[in-house]
């Protein structure tokens, strides 16, 4: 079930410039958030397909990954500084309004991409991987969830913490605000107030008939626009004595809690991230191809090659356009019907988006 991506990763490290081929449609659109090295946060107006704001995140340490917008869409919380700081940036003014530097002298703390925010916007829950830095020794400590108040300003300290499993890479708040999901070896649900583990469902422990242990690695906490998180999953499936590598889609409805897994193809392309369209009929996945997945029939609907790799994908709130970012400095706009490119936006300065999330803030 190991698939080598060396060849794929070897390719395409430089953006291909594409002229704006098609005039953007004139309608009030969503805002799109992305970030790029060394320290840039971009707010993109999808109606005009142009950069509305470019903000500098202080002390970003040339490393930006997860972006979590506040529920009211006014602040973006961004994991920066080699996963050691979360910076809250006001999306109107560009001012840093929140800052949690996780590491302290003698203890280095990294957050491996996982944090989430309560629906009232008041608390951030952050996955912390602490390492004690002793004079001649490192000591890896148990991971924890640390809770920060978003009004704590620029020197935010956690107000409570509770123990967490190792190897998490994603957290998703449930709309009730009572619990959140944590994704890693398995899918865990925790109580926000007490930090109690409410339940564990399989990812590695999925009991899939005639399947090998599945592999899932996702850093993009995208549940917009449907409230359903989706991610590609790879496993080997055996049928009629023949074993084949399958790509499936894991989907988790953060509203209802429904969890589903379904293969949709014999693995023939690598997919980094996916997004579910608002009609819930199709999901779209990216890496070196754009893949359209038929949800109802669990099948590959369509696939087109891309100019280069994209790590993250999202979709317009009304489903009329696919957005792609991550890796290099292109944000591409694609037609969900034809999978043809409508436009490409080169980020000013052309910094590498790398693992930065691509998030949609719906028009209000």
């Amino acid at each position: 079930m190991r698939m080598t991506t060396r060849g794929l990763l070897a390719v395409a490290l430089v953006a291909v410039t594409t002229a704006f081929a098609i005039a953007p449609p004139a309608r009030a659109g969503d805002l799109l958030l992305t970030a790029a090295k060394p320290d840039r946060l971009y707010v993109i107006d999808t109606a005009t397909r142009s950069v509305r704001s470019e903000f500098r995140i202080p002390n970003a340490g040339a490393h930006i990954t997860t972006i979590v917008p506040s529920p009211d869409g006014k602040v973006a919380y961004v994991l920066v500084n080699r996963m050691e700081s979360i910076s809250g940036i006001n999306l109107k003014t560009g001012r840093e309004v929140f800052r949690a530097d996780l590491s302290v002298p003698g203890e280095r703390v990294k957050d491996f991409c996982a944090f989430t925010i309560t629906p009232d916007g008041k608390e951030l829950i952050v996955y912390e991987l602490p390492t004690k830095l002793l004079p001649n020794e490192y000591r890896v400590e148990e991971p924890r969830f640390a809770v920060f108040r978003t009004n704590a300003g620029l020197k935010a300290k956690s107000i409570r913490a509770y123990s967490a499993p190792r190897r998490l890479h994603l957290m998703l708040m449930r709309p009730s605000g009572k619990s959140f999901y944590a994704i890693g070896v398995d899918l865990y649900e925790y109580d926000v107030a007490s930090g109690k583990l409410l339940n564990t469902r399989g990812i590695q422990k999925w009991d899939l008939v005639a399947h090998s242990q599945p592999d899932l690695l996702a850093f993009w906490p995208v549940t917009e626009p449907t409230g359903v998180f989706t991610s590609p999953v790879i496993s080997d499936a055996t049928a009629g004595g023949i074993t084949a590598m399958k790509t499936g889609l894991m989907s988790l409805d953060v509203v209802s809690g429904a969890l589903d897994f379904a293969d949709f193809e014999d693995t023939s392309a690598l997919i980094f991230s996916t997004v579910l369209a608002p009609d819930r009929k199709f999901a779209y996945g990216v890496y070196s191809t754009l893949t359209k997945i038929d949800i109802e029939h669990h099948s590959l609907a369509q696939r087109v090659p891309l100019d280069h790799t994209f790590y993250s994908v999202n979709i317009a709130t009304d489903g009329h356009e696919i957005y792609m970012g991550g890796a290099m400095c292109d944000v591409a706009f694609y037609d969900p019907q034809t999978l043809q490119k409508r436009a490409n936006l080169k980020l000013p300065g052309c910094g590498d988006q790398s693992l930065a999330s691509l998030r949609v803030i719906p028009a209000r």
Partner: protein
Amino acid sequence: MSIGLPRMFSLHASLLGLFLFGAPAAGATDAPSGPTLVRTYCSGCHLEHGGSFERISSIRKSPEGWVMTLFRMHQVHGLALPEDAHDGIVRYLADTQGLAPSESAAGRFALERRPNARDLDLGPDLAAMCGRCHSLARVALQRRDADDWLKHMHFHVGQFPSLEYQASARDRPWWTIATTELPAKLGSLFPLNSAAWTAWSQGAHRELMGSWVVVGHEPGGRDLYGTAEINTDGHGGYTARYRLSDTRGGTVGGESHAIVYTGYEWRGRGELGGRASREVFAVSEDGSRISGRWFDPDHEERGGDWTAVRADAAPQVLAVLPRSMKAGSSGPITIVATGLPAGPELSLGAGTTVRITSVEAASVHAAVEVATDAAAGARAVTIGRASAAGQFAIYQHIDKVDVTPGFAIARVGGGKTAAVTAQFEATASTHDAAGKLVELGPFTADWSTKPFDAEAARTHDETFGGAIEPGGRYMPAGAGLNPVRDYSGNNTANLKVLARVHDGDVAVEGDSHLIVTVQRWVTTPIY
């Protein structure tokens, strides 16, 4: 699925490794002692307790291992270490906390930077847990007890937090395994204290001054033989002067300056035939033989095997060049040997007629005729009082051609990083009367490549990857994106390498597998 996690851990810059070959400081006599240096530069973080230093005294490793550690103390922990203190500490620690020859034997290929070497087999668990980022030789070239192996696991995850998330780690409870069963296993495989080390560190080791007989073989290239004169440099190191002949004709001069760590780890810097060279040799436990590999510092993949034996050693045959002859053929042969008498008798066994044409200090040249009906098979070679089996063979026809290495990696070049070439060599063998395959040594061949599979054919890997030279060396193409390729791909390739060896009117073919891949940014002294 190995989702390509962008590399989040930072690695060494490439310059380290070459420190070891530095000249010892002049006036080494008034240089501070090893313990003083460690006390001065290390004890701020590594507290001293009765002459032993926290962590430092719990580990033994190769000289290269100590260099890597000091590089990390500098790069990660901010230690500022002047060059002479650095060299003094490496020397002191390698001498007092090194590996016995028997302990470093299995991992020597990594110290010698052999290209395309097969890694150690320590079982599937260690291969998956440890062998995917670096060689298992790096592990096997260290000694610690379980408690320090455990600390080293903490270092790994503390320093490289993405480790647990990578392929071959996230499919298992990596951290649990690494902190429960593994330290004990490593501590018993590679423990701090050993009888071998106790014996070696307490024993006396022979000085290396004197005359030596040398043979060298550069895969795909030349065979060298001749003499080395080794002297002390007056500062605890050695100088060596080489006077060698190339079997293809001509002489090759050279010299080197070496430090011998741990009583046997020869690390030399010099030149050979006008090209800069580095030497990673080991002196045998009895001090009678020096062997290893020399290589070009800018192209570590280019180099050869080296053996030197004391000129006054008991009579022995070091090499027979060429290693085989065809029945019905005639030609010159060179025997490299020690203990040659004044007028040596040479015999190459049944079916050969030998006429000695010249005798030098450590080599004999002869004209040989092989009878048309000479039986195929190995021949014992006798020269003076020395004789050797398995170094020479006669063949009627070549039955098989092998290409070594059987799998190789080359890397595209460009920018500041030179291409990594891949050297292939064709060796032939024949069946003897008993039906046994007998090796005939390296042969010249016509070299070519073809796509390894249908996908490689479709993407025209043969055209883009590079080209193979007449001597069997593959020169990869330039790095960077090639707009003509799918996804603007790099000039990577998946190829079959073919060698056609001509044996009279027939040609016998052998093949190997070559992957041309992207540049590697980091080269460490132990891969």
